[in-house]
Symmetry: C2
Subunit: 158 residues, 2 copies
């Protein structure tokens, strides 16, 4: 009683990669109302999440570098440099060379960037409440995603 899967292995709905891709884009779409209100894009929001976190952790400013952002967000300079410049122009972050090592660009939070945090928090709290999926299933999914991520890039995040 062997099932013939040879003809449907490549069916779109069987692809985990497609489920990930579609789900990720759907999630970003779900954030659009908030992002529109904050006047930022989704990757810009991720940058702010990290900067807010570093701010609260009291991370030394000398470690707020473009490469540190890139390592955590898994984005390269070709993405981050223009993105950060746009955020600088909007007054959300600051950018300056580090005196001790002129190769390094230090990124900082401005008042404008900090001011968006409470709004984001409020939005997130509200949206999570509206999502009809139990929190424990969300965190289980979260855990599985990180395990898969570790498997996909053996080097892992730094």
């Amino acid at each position: 009683m062997e099932e013939d899967t040879s003809r449907s292995d490549l069916a779109l709905d069987r692809q985990l990669c497609f489920a990930l891709y579609a789900c990720s884009r759907a999630m970003i779409r779900a954030y659009q109302p908030m992002l529109r209100e904050l006047g930022i894009t989704y990757p810009q929001y991720l940058v702010l999440l990290l900067l807010w976190q570093w701010d609260q952790d009291g991370r030394p400013v000398s470690e707020w570098t473009v490469s540190a952002l890139g390592a955590r967000l898994m984005l390269d300079s070709g993405t981050l440099t223009p993105l950060l410049k746009r955020m600088e122009k909007q007054g959300l972050v600051s950018r300056r060379r580090w005196e001790s090592d002129e190769r390094v660009t230090l990124v900082g939070l401005t008042e404008g960037g900090l001011a968006l945090r409470p709004k984001a928090q409020a939005w997130r709290d509200r949206a999570l409440g509206e999502l009809a999926v139990p929190a424990e299933r969300l965190s289980a999914l979260h855990r599985e995603l990180w395990l898969l991520l570790d498997e996909l890039q053996p080097d892992g995040k730094i």
Copy 2:
């Protein structure tokens, strides 16, 4: 004994959206060796997956439309039109207006597009074998992603 989560709710690693986003991009990165060999991009691969499937299902050619591709892949014409034009230029798909309704663009598989299928199948079989995650956890993850997707877009796919 209440935990103070107010300061870390927005921590990057707590965000399901970021896990999805990072995992989806890591998965696409994992496909790059195959995609490079096939000479296509990741969304172009998704288009081919769907066309191969329609081909095997014997779907009537009058239903191989841009909007049908868009509905299944959740992509709009602004993404698909230029993408399909590039694929047409590479000889992977055909594009022509439908005689019965000149508003519709019918998309077809060419010999070139069909020829990539066995290579893709071989790659996928090999890659799945190398992934050190049990198949049942992958399918459980797959299921959870679709449930979340349904929740994120109540209208659902058509």
